[in-house]
């Protein structure tokens, strides 16, 4: 017992001493401390390619850059001119027996033998030939007779891709109470159909034959006036590979519609004065019919500033008549209309200087404006389309005045919102500028919806490269910008906040256009001096 007491004292003493250490430990909270970090963050070289991709640049031998940009203004596709709806035809057969009479039919007895003409419902169109690119024929049979029925569905005016022109289908024995059903599919891709009917003087018409007989190897059937056989043929998903006929004379109104234009997406304000602009309008008609286009309006819309500029040019004054495409047998050659707009015959420079982010247009399209002058020989291929392209050429010979380029950057800060590792700090930007324009930087913190949250003070600006007498940059200049981020701003960046960087560019000489050369570049380096919390600050 004495040992036990002494042992207790020893153990308790040991635990007591150790508790001087362990009782103070906050297990959930690691040690943390702040260190002042000074380090380069990133380097980059800014060139014209950063705002105009190489694919949109044409560089002359002297290094001068021309912006070459192509945009589809509008297109009228196949389905606008020709659309074949899904169509079903029903072939019923019932026995005309009086009262409760029954009649025994022998095996092999023909129950249906019909020649029919089916007409596709194609308003405004008078097709004489159709080659199918995609489509399906489904034969559904419903049999109330007590014998297997063998059926044959023939298209005398058509040829399937495998060279046949009929479909064989079978349905099992049924009864009045429990009819038998069957479904047989036939892929129509590659099939060619003469839609002139059996006398070759009709349109949209397909001759068909339907034959059905009791199974010759069966036992025949006893039928009443309640028994019937119904064959349904459904054409679905028909996409023409080639169609020929008369496509009608009608007017299609297109628009007003807007197309996004990504060329100036990064510019949010300011003015850009372009020396020369050349815009080529190219309209291709790949459809085998005459077309007439009346371009009612073509507008450059800048949704950021709310300014819209209407294009002024003779192309908007009168109709554009487009000849039909030429049928080469298995393909076609489009007819092409071209017109060129420049500073002298239009306001295309002002149109573009609006820095549009949308092109808005409306037009009327007349099909066969002179009627059926081809005598039913309009045609189209699957790839036939009416397409208007804008091809822009702008030599980068500019005057930029407070032209603001905007970019939103969400920095990937170490740590997270609850456990921030950066408290405050400085951002330093070092620029070596070889461009003939200066830049001033506005740095804001905005939320996900770009609502302003806080302004970051930026000291300094980017000076322009030094110009020679020829208006070209002869020497680079070095500049420094410094921005201080407070702990409150860091908090925002750890949350939903993100940087909105706006750089306002001004060309060094505001009285003359300055050429931008391929060799121009601006080297940028960003360094950071920050108070970094090891293991976070919470």
């Amino acid at each position: 017992m004495e040992y036990e007491r002494q042992l207790c004292r020893v153990a308790s003493f040991g635990l007591l001493i150790l508790s001087t250490l362990t009782a103070c430990r906050k297990d959930a909270e690691p040690a943390r401390w702040d260190v002042d970090v000074l380090a380069p963050l990133l380097t980059t070289r800014f060139t014209i390619a950063d705002i105009i991709p190489d694919s949109l640049q044409s560089v002359a031998a002297d290094g001068a850059i021309t912006l070459v940009y192509s945009e589809e203004l509008f297109a009228v596709d196949l389905d606008t001119v020709l659309e074949i709806p899904d169509t079903s035809f029903i072939y019923p057969y019932a026995f005309p027996l009086p009262g409760n009479d029954q009649f025994a039919l022998p095996a092999g007895f023909p129950v249906i033998s019909e020649n029919n003409l089916i007409r596709f419902n194609l308003p405004d169109l008078a097709l004489s030939k159709l080659i199918v690119r995609e489509g399906n024929l489904e034969l559904r049979m419903k049999n109330k007779m007590g014998s297997v029925i063998n059926g044959t569905f023939g298209l005398p005016g058509g040829v399937f891709a495998d060279g046949t022109s009929s479909v064989v289908a079978t349905v099992g024995p049924g009864s009045v109470a429990n009819p038998a059903y069957s479904s047989t599919q036939r892929d129509l891709a590659g099939g060619s159909f003469d839609l002139r009917g059996p006398s070759f003087n009709d349109v949209n018409t397909l001759a068909t034959t339907v034959n059905a007989q009791l199974d010759p190897n069966g036992n025949g059937a006893s039928v009443t006036n309640q028994d019937s056989v119904i064959v349904t043929a459904e054409y679905s998903g028909l996409v023409p590979h080639y169609a020929k006929g008369y496509f009608g004379s009608r007017t299609i109104n297109v628009g007003p519609e807007s197309n996004p234009l990504g060329l100036f997406n990064n510019f949010v304000s300011g003015t850009l004065d372009l020396d020369r602009v050349r815009l080529q309008v190219k309209v291709e008609n790949g459809i085998g019919m005459d077309l007439r286009i009346r371009l009612n309006s073509l507008q450059a819309v800048n949704t950021r500033t709310g300014v819209t500029v209407d294009l002024v040019h003779t192309i908007l004054d009168g109709p554009i008549n487009l000849n039909r495409a030429l049928d080469l047998g298995n393909s076609f050659r489009s007819s092409i209309y071209e017109d060129e707009l420049d500073n002298d015959n239009s306001n295309v420079d002002l149109f573009l200087e609006n820095l549009p982010d949308q092109l808005q247009y409306s037009l009327d399209l007349d099909l066969n404006p002179l009627g059926d002058i081809s005598n039913g020989n309009d045609f189209l291929y699957h790839d036939s389309r009416l397409q208007a392209l804008l091809e822009l050429e702008v030599p980068l010979n500019i005057i930029a005045t407070d032209l603001v380029l905007e970019n939103i950057v969400k920095p990937d800060l170490p740590g997270n919102e609850e456990d921030q590792t950066i408290r405050d700090g400085d951002l330093n930007l070092f620029a070596t500028n070889g461009f003939p324009f200066s830049g001033s930087v506005v740095l804001d913190i905005v939320d996900r919806d770009r609502n302003f949250l806080s302004a970051v003070m930026v000291q300094g600006g980017i000076t322009a490269g030094i110009l020679g007498a020829d208006g070209l940059v002869q020497a680079t200049t070095a500049s420094e910008l410094h921005a201080t981020l407070t702990s409150e701003q860091i908090d925002l960046l750890y949350g939903e906040g993100r940087f909105r960087v706006r750089i306002a560019f001004n060309t060094a000489d505001q009285t003359q256009h300055l050429r931008l050369l391929e060799r121009y570049a601006m080297d940028l380096q960003i360094t950071v001096g920050a108070r970094y919390f090891v293991n976070g600050d919470e």
């Binding site: 042992l7 040690a31 401390w33 002042d36 970090v37 000074l38 800014f46 950063d50 330093n428 420094e480």
Partner: protein, 415 residues
């Protein structure tokens, strides 16, 4: 488990142990009667020491929470340029010594021992400390010298058997070593230059880093296997009329082969960093610093493969002189195979109090740190139980601005 056993077990778990700095001298009056058949001893402890960093810093790291700048600055002010060391030893051991059973060695007893060890140490420069605790901003336009420096942390367990001489307590033991984790870096040369405004970071680095399987080092994992030998030889002789006890020994002298999942980095490189090269200034979202990019940029990808390392063994020599009556003085020197460890010299004065208690005071210098003042005691309870308790540095329990802290304890049963 009865109450005394439970308490004893709790005490030993609490007092994880390691080899005592200077063993209290054998005393035939206080010690257990060696004529008994079986002896079971449990010992454990920890010992932290540093030669420049004040205790308040590691205590702050241990306790968690914010480390005040003043606290960090005080240790920075105390650092030398390149000879700063810190280290710790943590462990526990259980020994069983049985009755003599060898016909040809009648004075020798069988010995079985199991132990757990966790040791770590580092040698670092003042600039390394400053970078770690204050950052590189103060080094703008200057070079921080980061070498020579080294680091090692090893966890391992041993189980072994040997023989112990009943009278002198000399012993020889061979242990099987289960390696749990190893991490070691040896940086022969390294520097970091921070350019003006942070426009460039320029590093030079010559060194290597080895680590055991990084997938885990839990108690259930064996990441290495090895073998080690421990031995101690005790003798005595007369110096004039006085008796001198002399002992020397080595603990855990052996090797561990860390398995093929171990990793290493060997670098001899110059590196200049100007920032992440970004292709397009308008595409900066999430460009900053994924771990993979960082590792690629700095060339810090691991290579895998087994390696062999010496255990952090300990070699020691000690002697004590009987002064007459119950007084005795001792002197010991020990060295450990650990980065930053220098031979530690310990002097001790002891006095027997009554027939059951021995008290001692120690002063030591070297090891991971500087001068330390310690106390030690052992007391026998009845005829079967002996308890040891010692600390190498008493002020460590009371002062934050001192260096070193440790506590060792042990119990021995005879039955």
């Amino acid at each position: 488990m009865n109450r005394p056993t439970t308490l004893l077990f709790a005490a030993c778990i609490a007092l994880n142990g390691t080899a005592q700095l200077l063993p209290l001298p054998l005393d035939t009056v206080v010690d257990l009667n060696r004529g008994r058949g079986h002896f079971l001893s449990l010992s454990g402890g920890f010992d932290y020491n540093a030669n420049t960093v004040y205790n308040e810093l590691p205590l702050g790291l241990y306790r968690g929470g914010y480390l005040e700048r003043d606290l960090r600055q005080r240790s920075l002010d105390a650092l030398t340029w390149d000879r700063n060391t810190a280290g710790y030893l943590l462990g526990g051991r259980m020994d069983w010594t049985g009755p003599a059973c060898f016909a040809k060695l009648p004075g020798w007893r069988p010995l079985i021992s199991v132990a757990h060890h966790e040791v770590g140490s580092t040698r670092f420069t003042k600039d390394e400390y400053a970078l770690a605790f204050f950052g590189n901003a103060d080094y703008e336009n200057e070079k921080a010298i980061l070498a020579p420096s080294a680091y090692q942390q090893v966890r391992y367990q041993t189980i072994g058997a040997g023989v112990q001489h009943a009278a002198s307590r000399s012993f020889v033991r061979l242990d099987l070593v289960r390696g749990r984790s190893y991490a070691g870096a040896d940086i022969q040369w390294a520097s970091l230059f921070t350019g003006e405004d942070g426009r460039v970071l320029r590093t030079t680095f010559l060194g290597d880093y080895y680590a055991s399987d990084t997938a885990g080092s839990g108690f259930d994992r064996t990441n290495g296997l090895g073998i080690a030998a421990s031995a101690r030889w005790n003798t005595h002789f007369k110096w004039g009329a006085r008796r001198v006890d002399l002992g020397m020994g080595v603990d855990d002298f052996g090797l561990v082969r860390w398995n093929a999942n171990s990793v290493r980095i060997q670098q001899d490189t110059l590196f200049s960093y100007n920032g992440w090269a970004v292709a397009n200034i308008f595409a900066l979202d999430n460009v900053i610093i994924g771990e993979d990019e960082l590792l690629d940029t700095l060339g810090l990808r691991y290579e895998s493969g087994a390696f062999t390392r010496l255990l952090p063994f300990r070699a020691s020599v000690d002697a004590s002189l009987q002064l007459g009556g119950s007084w005795r003085v001792g002197l010991g020197v020990e060295q450990r195979h650990m980065p930053g460890y220098v031979p530690q010299v310990t002097v001790m004065g002891s006095r027997r109090v009554g027939t059951r208690t021995l008290l001692a005071a120690t002063a030591s210098y070297g090891g991971f740190g500087a001068l330390r003042i310690g106390l030690a005691a052992k007391r026998r309870f009845g005829e079967r139980l002996l308890v040891n308790l010692s600390t190498p540095h008493v002020p460590g329990f009371f002062l934050g601005r001192t260096r070193g802290l440790g506590l060792m304890a042990g119990v021995e049963f005879a039955f």
